[in-house]
Amino acid sequence: MNTETFYYDNKIVKQFAIATAMWGLVGMLVGLTIALQMVWPFLNFNIPQTTFGRLRPLHTNAIIFAFVGNGIFMGVYYSLQRLTKARMFSDFLSKIHFWGWQLIIVLAALSLVMGYTTGKEYAELEWPIDILITLVWVIFGVNMFGTLIKRRERHLYVAIWFFIGTWVTVAMLHIVNSIELPVSFTKSYSYYAGVQDALVQWWYGHNAVAFFLTTPYLGLMYYFIPKAANRPIYSYRLSIIHFWALIFIYIWAGPHHLLYTSLPDWAQSMGTVFSIMLLAPSWGGMINGLLTLRGAWDRVRESAVLKFMVVAITAYGMATFEGPMLSLKNVNAISHFTDWTIAHVHVGALGWNGFLTFGVLYWIIPRMWQTDLYSKKWANWHFWIGTLGILLYAIPMYWAGWMQSSMWNEFTPEGQLQYQFLETVQTMRPFYMARSLGGLLYLVGAIIMVVNLVKTAKQGVFLAQEKAEAAPLEKVRITGNEHWHRVIERRPLQMLVFALVLVAIGGVIEMIPTFLVKENIPTIAAVKPYTPLELEGRDIYIREGCYTCHSQMIRPFRSETARYGDYSKAGEFVYDHPFQWGSKRTGPDLAREGAGSLKRMDSWHYNHMMDPSSISTGSIMPRYPWLFEDKIDFAEITNKMKAMQTLGVPYTDADIAAGADSARRQAQQITNGLMLEFKQNQLLTSDEGLQPDHEILALIAYLQRLGRDAAPVQQ
């Protein structure tokens, strides 16, 4: 048997490592900024590009796709070569993959702050970037499978199973959720509407967590834990069972983000039961990771790498225990829309993803630069500051979430709501301050790490081509006794197909009935499409990311119907491309903002958008002065209506032809009304410069429409 000499490509790993660290700092800095804005809303400086609604998607996208995304690629490119005893399939593809992904990130950052967004959480990027993502993802896949095909290791190690599962599932999720109809280069509408859009979106959103933040990182854990601890993996059969069970069950659990909403009850229950069944498969990974450290715990005390990894796995265990609990309807009724959810995801993001990434970085950088870590002491400081940061972040947020929920639900004995919504917002301020401090500490820790790693690199010599030797695979017939799973471990493409079939099942069973069976979305005759101006206002609502703080989903609870009006029904959302139910109530629900007892004067909205705290003292909503200067693009409205017509919204051709005129007319009406009110009421805000083509008018039109069809205003 002759051995071949070949070289591992460390350069691509280095590039991804630098990108991981850099985007990590950027993402955390944006997170800190918006955390501070929730305490001091003036920190948006009245600039649209720095306002919460646009920065929050930037923060989530930067952390998920830039920080963790590059972290995944860094870990995969490092471990895959070594686990397959082969150089990456193509240096050229590696290069395109790297630069393509960085291009996507830059485009994403620019387009999000400019307000180009689809309005679907964690899938906000507009259609040209969606296509780019698909292309780069395919290139990554080709490069990975090319490497698998020319591998020198007969069987695939469990880390690679996770990489395969990740690749195929993310591809499926991204494509299905991103089906949208372009209106222009920077604007599109989701193909799905209302309840269906919500189901698809959370099937995607939940599994972005599962297959972007969890499975690839489990793969990394399976490589770097045994390497760093120098211990064998605890249980091979546990790997097999928890891997297949995890990917099969995870995909079903999406509807647990929609409990007590207008999604049909049966679909909600699917989300609940599969989340509970997910407990053991999730914990399988934690057990296998922690028990691999059996007999190495003394080294955990010594090694910063292992310390980070142990806390990461522990955070993973906590988050995956909490997740199923939050999927129980009675727990979800408390936690949903509150800061509890924020605490939950940050235990995962800061603890599991962040700390595992740090551990990997501390492990591979000295190795690739052939030296020791510059300062172990700094690494230890990073560990403690980071841990403290997580605690200071999570504890106040759990507390805040619980308080929010209790205050929202509190009735006086006479049957009145005990608290105005604004009171609950003001109560949150100290918690938001503490949370910002936690975030700051975490960021400081990360900066210490970056300095430490840069100094490490400076003192070492980078090994771009790492020499390795292995025998090529020969064609042999495997005979004799072997574990049944070994067969599939030799066949990466079959594994890909199996994984795809398994993950497709859950989505298909949940979605098809919701799309095809009429009873699932009972229609309401009174619900009509938006007027052209309202449609334009809705796009402004989406552009400004209002959904990041305001829900449009009144759950059937006494405390919600008392505060917001009748509970929301599936039939109300049939023209909503995309749905805007939201997932967080930093501000009150807006589903019936234009109806019932919540209906306010146009001038109220006018003044409120100009300066929220002038009307609601102590509000943490930022000001939106640019809406009073920027002009509505009336010409574009026709194109938007055409797109909506294509998607099935019943606009007639005549409606569309008259779209711009109708919008102008409605804007003029609102302007006239406002002028009258200003005159009568001697408003504090000056009406100087109010023109009938300002964007604020479209937004007012939309807000005044919300909830009106199902609960008309009594005249």
């Binding site: 039961v273 403690w384 639900n409 009594q714």
Partner: protein, 363 residues
């Protein structure tokens, strides 16, 4: 899910009369004393460890910072929210002093655990803790608690379950599935079927809407029960002008919290009308005002306050508003509506009030 509805009237319940409260304080103080003692022990042990030079240096500053900050946080958080939190009652038991105490005790317990661990760490002689000793130190004879729990093969015997897999030097053991994990998994699957049966296939689990209706019915019953025993229940036909200083003070607070954004801090009028003059759009009698506050006025910014304020509170705030008559605040808004002259028979004034309401507000 049943909503948590406060059963205890706010005014009568005080934690400071609750024996449990003092019991908890005692516990907190005792824990504090214990912590101080532990601190002494820890110091001594740490000094000894230093002298022995057996142990690695430990990040003392970090530990101290953690403790200080966690104390600092718990204090500042409860202090800063003091005002709202004092109002915050949940289920009658979890009010602020209790919350603060519980937090304190939990933190104290955490510190105790941490100190214990530190002491244990510093006093244990680690046989296996030598530089460059890669292999574990199987010092125990029998299976440990964890190995028993997980059905793990002992480390010293693990050659027997070591597979021939070797990936870049990573080996794989083939330990059995931990029984608690395996049976736990089965249990969740059984539970899942039970859940689906109970809610969707023959069981009588309530739908979301059935739960909602039950919730409303329960609340209605509770409120009815309350109304039976409650005094001071008024409505727009029975309300009378309140003049006691407590009522006016309460009314003033309610006004500041809910009305000033539209009517101005001195009721001089902003978006909403001036309330200090004698011109009223919807009648200037206490009964008129009560009705306007309770039901709101359609098509204006005046919303219905009946889901926000209790009847008594509405009586207080309207009485307070009427007490402002003729105060002549700065920057008054021009009069709106007809001049109101008090009539002997107030029912005439009631007739002036717009008959419709924005009461599409459900319940």
């Amino acid at each position: 899910m049943k909503e948590a509805i406060t059963a205890l009237p706010i005014s009568t319940y005080s934690p400071y009369q609750d024996p449990i409260f003092y019991g908890l304080i005692l516990v907190a103080v005792m824990l504090l004393i214990y912590i101080l003692q532990l601190q002494g022990v820890l110091k001594a042990v740490a000094n000894k460890a230093k002298q022995d030079k057996k142990k690695q240096s430990r990040n003392w500053p970090t530990a101290i910072i953690i403790i200080l900050i966690s104390f600092g946080f718990s204090n500042s958080a409860s202090a800063a929210t003091g005002d709202q939190m004092l109002k915050f009652l949940h289920n009658g038991f979890g009010n602020t002093p209790f919350n603060a105490l519980f937090t304190l005790i939990v933190i104290e317990l955490g510190v105790v655990l941490y100190y214990n661990r530190m002491i244990k760490y510093l006093t244990t002689d680690f046989v296996g803790l030598k530089e460059g000793a890669p292999e574990a130190n199987p010092e125990r004879v029998g299976p440990s608690f964890w190995n028993k729990l997980n059905k793990s093969v002992e480390i010293k015997d693990e050659a027997a379950i070591l597979t021939d897999h070797d990936y870049d030097g990573i080996r794989e053991l083939d330990n059995a599935l931990p029984p608690w994990w395996k049976y736990g998994f089965y249990l969740t699957i059984v539970w899942a079927f039970g859940y689906l049966f109970y809610y969707h296939a023959g069981g009588n689990g309530p739908s979301s809407l059935q739960e909602y209706n039950t919730q409303l019915a329960d609340a209605e019953k509770q409120m009815e029960e309350y109304r039976k025993n409650a005094k001071n229940l008024v409505d727009e036909t029975s309300v009378v002008l309140l003049t006691s200083s407590e009522d006016l003070k309460a009314g003033s607070a309610l006004f500041a919290a809910n009305c000033v954004s539209c009517h101005g801090a001195s009721a001089e009028g902003k978006i909403g009308p001036n309330l200090t003059d004698q011109y009223w759009k919807h009648g200037g009698d206490i009964k008129d005002l009560f009705k306007t506050v309770k039901l709101g006025v359609t098509g204006t910014g005046m919303k219905s306050w009946k889901t926000d304020l209790s009847a008594m509170q509405m009586a207080q705030v309207t009485s307070y508003i009427l007490s402002l008559q003729g105060t002549n605040p700065a920057n008054p808004k021009a009069p709106e509506g007809p001049l109101y002259t008090p009539l002997a028979d107030s029912t005439v004034a009631v007739a002036n009030v717009l008959p419709d309401s924005t009461a599409t507000a459900k319940k």
